[in-house]
Amino acid sequence: MKKVKFSKPEILKDNDTHYCPGCGHGILHVLVARAIDELNLREKVIGIAPVGCAVIAYDYWDFDCCEAAHGRALAVATGIKRSRPKQVVFTYQGDGDLASIGIAETLHTANRGENLTCIFVNNACYGMTGGQMAPTTVVGQRTATTPWGRNPQYGEGWPLKVSEMLAPLKGVCSVVRTTVSTPALVRQTYEYIKKGFINQIEQKGFSLVEVLSPCPTIWRKTPQESMNWIESHMKEEFPLGVIK
């Protein structure tokens, strides 16, 4: 007699993804699908895809989705949520999208206290376009546009802490920073994502779930080394935990 303990949720489609081996998006797409499945939200949810590696996230999820111009996902989400307040509306954005070009939309959507769930996938670079510096690139990190390592002395700035920046805003009800570098942390991230949806259903305001995410290809590391790099270099700069 066979009893399935862990298996792919139906909401996650069967097709092969375009993501690199060991990419954090793969893990996160599963967690989002599972959360929506467990909370029975498939018929209620509307997801907004970013511009970045996950630009075609909607090809992998079996629910209503919307594209957004680079950085504008939270503005699009605002338009959808205000028009259809009963739907559960979430954005899924990378660090270039959310923290660079979209920083005004991110700040003001959070500040207005829109009842939205924002999943922020932080891989410290612009992955899709070949690994340029992003707002969250750490000091010393080599990227396509910081070939000698990010250096504030060259006017390249410091890593932006979006979670800490949004937490003080009154419209923000929850800010967590997590990662997927161990099974325990994957399970914790799952709980945080669920909580982000539940907060929206309970109309508590804006929820941010920042996830430090591995990017083997751009980081020039194996999938295992990428997880290690999160542990050794990213966690120190971006502390995990419930920030609000």
Partner: protein
Amino acid sequence: MSKSQTKLKHKVMIKKDKCKGCGLCIVYCPVKHLEFSAKLNKKGVKFAKEKKTNQCIGCGFCFDMCPECCIEVYEEK
């Protein structure tokens, strides 16, 4: 712990042609139950598979870490 639970076996089923060979399941398995295959799958990579020694404890860590969600873990009596 009841008598029936001591007889419980766990198995991992991996869809080999969906596997991209990232190796995360192999690394994070606490009992080293998984390994890379010798042969290549349709993607042209060495895919993850169960070892013949069958040590699986059904923890689901491989499922958690798999970016392709091509792993199923189940218990068998």
